[in-house]
């Protein structure tokens, strides 16, 4: 017997979904631990929405099993699963007012709760999403953001095991989206219900979630905290999808002292470390060296670069974007191509480079990650 606290709210065990010959979801294992805010992140068509629909019960897996709080719910229809969903376009019932939309789930229970009980629960749910007094309004009288909050109240009033959110912010404008991100996070902390957010927006996923699961072509590529994904990606795909990075193709060489030598194009050499999230690449593997733009140093000349440097070269500044606390440079190297560099502002020194300047670039060995492609 495991302790109750250790039972995840939702578990996937080897879940696959096929439509004819197309594999939408391929052997996914996943655990959503209680009270967490998890994102499923990936480009469209990666299978994240299919995963969500298999959690809700709208789709049944072709293989594998789904558990909700330890109960095997594989094959159980949506209306008998203790999870609720916020739909992408909210799917509020147009023929019902706000209060009747919110109370819909409670009214399906058998026996039906008493009228006063439902009214009280609706008031609480509406005040939770800051819509007190909106109960009698019609759906089409509400703005997009208000409809979104009604959809949240309609789901949360049922105290589901997991709240499923299907790209809920995609239909909102930029400013409102940011407000809703903060509101969703606060809501999740207050109610303590596990939230699962499906999104293709990496910024949204990283800023809101405790854990992010990155999907590609139906497979779960990596699951971890936003920091783990950024600092220790399992492969080039994750490094590219989460944040910005510069990539240099090469071949893995010998490893020593935790550093792997890499032969780049034209006989150039560098070294880097393997990601802690996965087994290191073997000698002879085709690899990508990933260097985050903020880890690359710029200097006027090579001798001005710090001592611990794994790679140094000369390059030319192609473009410069002032970002306030940082400056973003686009520099070009004759053989490695263009890369992006972000330099923090340093004290009073106006150490800005101009477009066209020759500069020296370099990075310390631990800044370079040697990753397999994907």
């Amino acid at each position: 017997m495991t302790k109750p606290a250790a039972i995840p709210d939702i578990s996937f065990r080897g879940v696959s979904k096929r439509y004819g010959d197309v594999v939408a979801v391929d052997k996914v294992d996943l655990d959503l631990s209680k009270g967490s805010f998890v994102s499923l992140l990936g480009p469209s068509g990666c299978g994240k929405t299919t995963c969500l629909r298999m959690m809700a019960g709208f789709e049944q897996p072709s293989a594998g099993e789904v558990f909700i709080r330890g109960d095997n719910v594989t094959g159980v229809p949506a209306y008998r699963r203790p999870v609720n969903m916020v739909f992408q376009h909210y799917a509020l019932f147009p023929h019902l007012n706000v209060a009747d939309n919110v109370s819909y789930g409670l009214r399906q229970r058998s026996p039906r709760p008493p009228r006063e009980g439902i009214a009280k629960a609706v008031d609480e749910a509406l005040s939770m999403v800051r819509l007190s007094g909106y109960g009698a309004r019609r759906i089409w009288e509400l703005s997009g953001g208000q409809q979104q909050r009604v959809a949240l109240a309609r789901a949360l009033i049922n105290r589901p095991a997991v709240l499923l959110l299907d790209e809920p912010l995609a239909a909102l404008d930029r400013k409102l989206r940011h407000d809703m991100q903060i509101e969703l996070q606060n809501l999740q902390r207050n109610v303590g219900i596990t939230f699962l957010l499906v999104t293709h927006d990496q910024e949204e996923a990283l800023s809101m979630s405790d854990r992010v699961c990155i999907m590609k072509d139906g497979r779960l590529v990596q699951a971890g905290t936003p920091r783990e994904l950024y600092d220790e990606p399992v492969n080039g795909y994750v490094a590219d999808f989460v944040g910005k990075s510069n990539f240099f193709a090469g071949t893995a060489g010998q490893a020593s002292d935790g550093l792997i030598k890499v032969a780049l194009v034209d006989g150039m050499k560098t070294a880097g470390r393997a990601s802690r999230s996965t087994a290191p690449p073997r000698q002879g593997d085709a690899v990508l060296v990933s260097v985050r733009p903020e880890r690359i140093r710029l200097a006027a000349a090579e001798r001005d670069l710090p001592n611990q440097i794994a790679f140094r070269a000369e390059a030319k500044v192609l473009n410069r974007i002032f970002l306030g606390e940082q400056t973003e440079y686009l520099v070009a190297h004759d053989r490695l191509g263009e890369f992006m560099v972000r330099s923090p502002r340093q004290g009073n020194q106006a150490r800005a480079f101009e477009i066209g300047d020759r500069v020296a670039i370099g990075w310390p060995p631990d800044a370079a990650l040697v990753l397999i492609k994907d």
Binding site: F58, A78, Y79, N84, A91, L92, Y104, G105, Q108, A155
Partner: protein, 268 residues
């Protein structure tokens, strides 16, 4: 300018005869085309004529039964087709269009032949066990009317179902409503205006149908059949009055149906 004149001419050509019938239904004189002054006499006379009132009751019974059966069966049929996949669904879709395209006279003849064949086949057996013979009556008209009104209802409901947001059904299921509860609380309210419109259209089409009823009504007289048979004795203002009443009822029902279908389109 000439195009406008042309259009005006077309409209006159189309609607002048109808306008004349409406106009002369208010004629005080005895003859249809001999204006003697305004009067509502012929309306009174038409609707106190026992043959007319009997025909009207017959027509209303046929139209009412047709509308109820066509609406119920048609709605269920549309819901069933929505869940069907593959060639069977395409076949039924095609057959529904055929039922609408087939001219009334063909439906009339073919249902007549079908009924007669069936009657000839089963009547000897029925007589042998002492039961009443099957014969033409209201129910044969209703059956023939349901045949094509069913297709009308199916088309209307199918259009509504296709335009319905699938995620509403999913949202309801996600909120613990069983499939039947979802149907009752989400699908049915969304379909209701279309169902009503289908009902009104079937009622109208059945009420004003002459051709099909003429073939399969047997000894019964519907209002259109009465009008047709009295015209052979000459057009009286009474006929004009009946025609006008039928016209206005049909128009009112059609406009109501149109309004229901449009209101729905606006709401979503």
């Amino acid at each position: 300018m000439s195009l406008r004149l042309y259009a005006a001419f077309i409209y006159v050509f189309l609607y002048a005869p109808i306008a004349l019938i409406v106009f002369f239904s208010f004629n005080a004189g005895r003859y249809a085309m001999d204006w003697q002054g305004f009067s509502l006499d012929w309306y009174g006379r038409a609707f106190t004529n026992p043959i007319v009132t009997k025909a009207l009751v017959t027509s209303l019974m046929i139209a009412g039964s047709t509308a109820v059966i066509a609406t119920v069966v048609g709605t269920l049929c549309a819901l069933g087709l929505e869940r069907m996949r593959g060639w069977l669904r395409q076949l039924f879709d095609a057959l529904i269009y055929v039922a609408i395209m087939v001219p009334g006279v063909v439906i009339g003849i073919s249902t007549l032949i079908a009924f007669v064949t069936v009657f000839d086949a089963v009547n000897p057996a029925l007589e042998a066990v002492g039961m009443a013979r099957l014969q033409m009556g209201l129910w044969t008209v209703i059956a023939a009317h349901v045949l094509f009104n069913l297709a009308v209802v199916v088309l209307i409901i199918r259009a509504r179902l296709a335009g319905m947001d699938r995620s509403l059904v999913e949202a309801s299921e996600d909120l613990y409503a069983t499939p039947f509860a979802t149907f009752r609380q989400v699908v049915l309210p969304a379909l209701l205006p279309s169902i009503l419109a289908g009902f009104l259209l079937s009622f109208t089409f059945s009420f004003e149908d002459f051709i099909i009823a003429f073939f399969v009504a047997g000894p019964n007289t519907t209002l259109p059949i009465y009008v047709f048979s009295s015209i052979r004795r000459g057009v009286t203002p009474e006929i004009n009055a009946i025609g006008t009443a039928v016209l206005l009822t049909s128009l009112a029902l059609l406009m109501l149906a149109q309004f229901l279908l449009r209101a729905r389109a606006r709401a979503l």
